[in-house]
């Protein structure tokens, strides 16, 4: 055996490499079948970072389709409700550069409000709501379940009498919180104003 190998070193080497390749190939092939991941794990992770407003402002019909598109290489900066925070989180997850938001401005968290005396009960907004947050029936007044409303404003456009408006969510005593100090503290000692701060400051 050893003699045979030493007599045909080239053939022996080729044979050894080919057989190794076959073994590992079979191993990998088996593993890819045996340990196949169900679904798209990246899309799932991306989806968990999206705000789930289902507003469609990204150009996809909901957060899941956009998550799948991101997993397939779409830009991560198309989500106005998520804003910079979501872009940063997505950039972190996917290891790509964070881009500025692809919209005029971040959408302010808001809630749909139906001016109920103007509602004619056409049910068009009910059909448009992606999270079933509008209650009502034909020819009866509709109303928004504010706690379930994602503020996607998809109900505003279909209303034939324009009785739906988006109201920014107001701060209450329960939701009020301290603001972060403005990040202007990166000055050095010589920047300090020479005059003593006035009483009004």
């Amino acid at each position: 055996m050893i003699e045979l190998i030493s007599q045909h070193p080239f053939a022996a080497a080729v044979l050894a490499l080919v057989s190794l390749g076959l073994v590992f190939g079979a191993l990998l092939g088996f593993a890819s079948v045996k340990f196949k991941t169900e679904g798209d794990p990246i899309a799932d992770q991306v989806e968990s970072l999206l705000p789930q407003t289902q507003c469609g402002q990204c150009g996809y019909p909901g957060c899941r389709p956009y998550a799948e598109a991101i997993a397939n290489g779409d830009d991560i900066n198309k989500c106005p409700p998520g804003g910079e925070a979501t872009i940063a989180a997505l950039a972190d997850l996917l290891g790509v550069e964070a881009k500025p938001l692809d919209a005029v401005e971040e959408s302010v968290p808001s809630v749909a409000y139906i001016r109920e005396d103007e509602c004619i009960g056409c049910t068009k907004c009910i059909q448009a709501c992606p999270v079933d947050a509008i209650l009502g029936s034909a020819k009866h007044m509709h109303t928004v379940i504010a706690s379930e409303c994602t503020g996607c404003d998809l109900c505003v456009e279909p209303c034939p009498v324009d009785c739906i408006e988006m109201r920014p969510i107001e701060t209450t005593l329960q939701t009020w919180h301290w603001d972060k100090p403005a990040a202007t503290e990166d000055i050095i000692a010589s920047d300090r104003p020479s005059a003593k701060p006035s009483a009004a400051a």
């Binding site: 789930q52 407003t53 992606p130 999270v131 994602t150 919180h177 503290e185 990166d186 300090r192 400051a201």
Partner: protein, 783 residues
Amino acid sequence: MIQIRDIHGGIHPPENKLQSLGEPIRPAGIPAQLILPLSQHIGAPAAPVVSVGDRVLKGQKIAEAKGFVSAPVHAPTSGTVVAIEPRVIPHPSGMSAPCIIINSDGQDEWVNHQGISDYTAVDKNTLISTIREAGIAGMGGAGFPSAVKLSGGQDKPIQTLILNGTECEPYITADDILMRERAGQIIAGAEILRHLIEPQETLIGIEDNKPEAIAAMRAAAEGTGIEIVSFPTKYPSGGEKQLIQILTGKEVPSGGLPSDVGIVCQNIGTAQAIYRAVNHGEPLISRVTTVTGNACGSPRNYEVLLGTPVQYLLDQSAFNASDCIRLIMGGPMMGYTLQDTAVPVVKTTNCILAPTVEELPPPPPAQACIRCGMCAEVCPVSLLPQQMYWFSRAQEHDKLEEHNLFDCIECGACSYACPSHIPLVQYYRASKAEIRQAQQDKIKAERSKERFEARQARIEREAAEKEAKRKARLEAAKARQAEAVKGDSKQDIIQAAIARSQAKKSGDADPAQAAIARAQAARNGTAVEETREEKQQRLEKLLASTTKRLAAAQEKLAQAEGNNDDNIAAFRTAVEKTSAKLAATQKELDELKSSTDGAAPTDDPAAAAIARAQAKRSGQAPAESEQEKTQRITAQIASTEKRLAAAQDKLATAKANGDDKADAFATAVTKTQEKLDALRAELAAITPTTATPATPVEDDPAAQAIARAMAARAESAGMSEREKAEKNIASLQARVEKTAAKLRAAQESGDDNAEILATSLDKMRDKLTAAEQALAALREEEN
């Protein structure tokens, strides 16, 4: 003797306590108006039990606790409730919250109240509910309802009861003076707490910068077994968890409560309030508050009625507004700036601080962090403030939580120690809020996702059901078609069957489409003839449904009569109509049944048509007499006219509603008109030839149709514009009248559609005027 431990870090800011200790506690008096926020405690706001205009007595409950973690509110003096409305409350946000406003009458008249003379003889639950009903909430600053603390620890044995007399924050002396002047009441309150909790030891922790208070308390506690422990002054020893660590060496676990380590901690002010509530039956309606700062001419402590506006206290203290840089509620370390001096003193207000610029200068601008580590050295909770600062700036919430941000007690020691004057605590507060917000958003996003997915699933299911139904109908139609092929291979009959099935398929929901299909079939010259069986079935169905409708209508009528409703007349008409229809249907059905197969009854046009069609098909068309033909055509004209009117009506409604089907209706109308014209032409052709011998009837329907179409064209050319216009006006007038009637009805019943009706009426009137003008123009032309 208890062993004193030390806590990590801590600072020694200037104490500034002596200014306000020169004078004893003085009652602040009764202000003209008291403002009582419904939420002076942690937990659910109380619910008002008085209404505007009520006279209330001192100590009367004016708002009751809502939920377990809540506390009631009592009237601090007698007076009248003048409003229950949002007012600015003492809160860092400066926002408003619901308050009960009482105008005092100066009589200070007590409500009936009675203390418990021997609390040991009373059930503990009764005692706890007494404390709860007295509205006592932690008076050290947090405002946690005391009864909750006392009733919560039943399952865990409490070894130590600690009373907090530390008062470590600069300037504040409310607890100090209370211990000096009312040590006996505090000890009595402590005895009640001991009775309730049954701890193995009771400790009262006091910092060693209050020697007089310590002496007074020691004297009062003589022989009770309550131990007064004094320990070195350091900020923030007064924090609950810090005090527990100093006195017992135990650390409250992160995110846990003192009861987890067998300890209950209460403020000494709370103990005194419990004594007043149990022994005298007095609810919590006043507290001791320090008014101090160099902008106050006479700093001192006041016994203040809850709800007293801060301005009222400042007025008594020779307050100099121009010197005061900012008004602070609480101490200089943890207090917050008040934007408004109208805010009231509440259960947690231990100090009003009015400093001058020299005393409390505004913080110099913050500089860059030099990573000196001073903040970590002073942190009483052994956190890493510097790291948290960077993470907070970078919004790294995960890292912040890993660094135990939520264990930060926001004492401000790090900010105080920072040589770069970075407002560290503000960063932590903001980051805590951000993290809480993010958690809430996450929960909401999850819920939205669930709802969205549920909706998607529902829509898919509905679509699938619809599709299945459609398929089933298609199958049925195919089966029928196959049957028709078997029965008769004639092409037009198959098409008629398809048309019928399609009409039926879409026509279930839309009678207009069915009408169109029928009209099309009619145009093709293959009028869908029902077989006898089909007709009988249809009639029977109609009969059944009409009977049902009649029953329902009668029931409604009866109901309306019972209620003496406005709609009685309408219901009665409906009943009459329905019964008329029922009779007609019944009659038709009877006739159908009685007619024999062979003899086509002359009075049933459908059967006659069937007979004719059958005869035609078998090639033995009986030559119609001229008279018969005239009759038939006249009848056809009448029915077509009726159909035309109906179609026009529908078209008008469709147009008014901006319906998609308006086009289809328009086509239908045109076609019907064409047919009518053709029929008229035929009739005209027959009438003059009545005398001449009958021309052989053409048995080719196509040729007939061509002839009819040509005749129609000729006739429509012959029909004058004026005739058309007149007809148009007549129909418009009829419609206007109808709509006006409907509008009146809608207005009377206050219907939502009244507006829509009014608009369409206006439009119709416009049309009518236009048509009339056109007619007038035509007439002029003719003349």
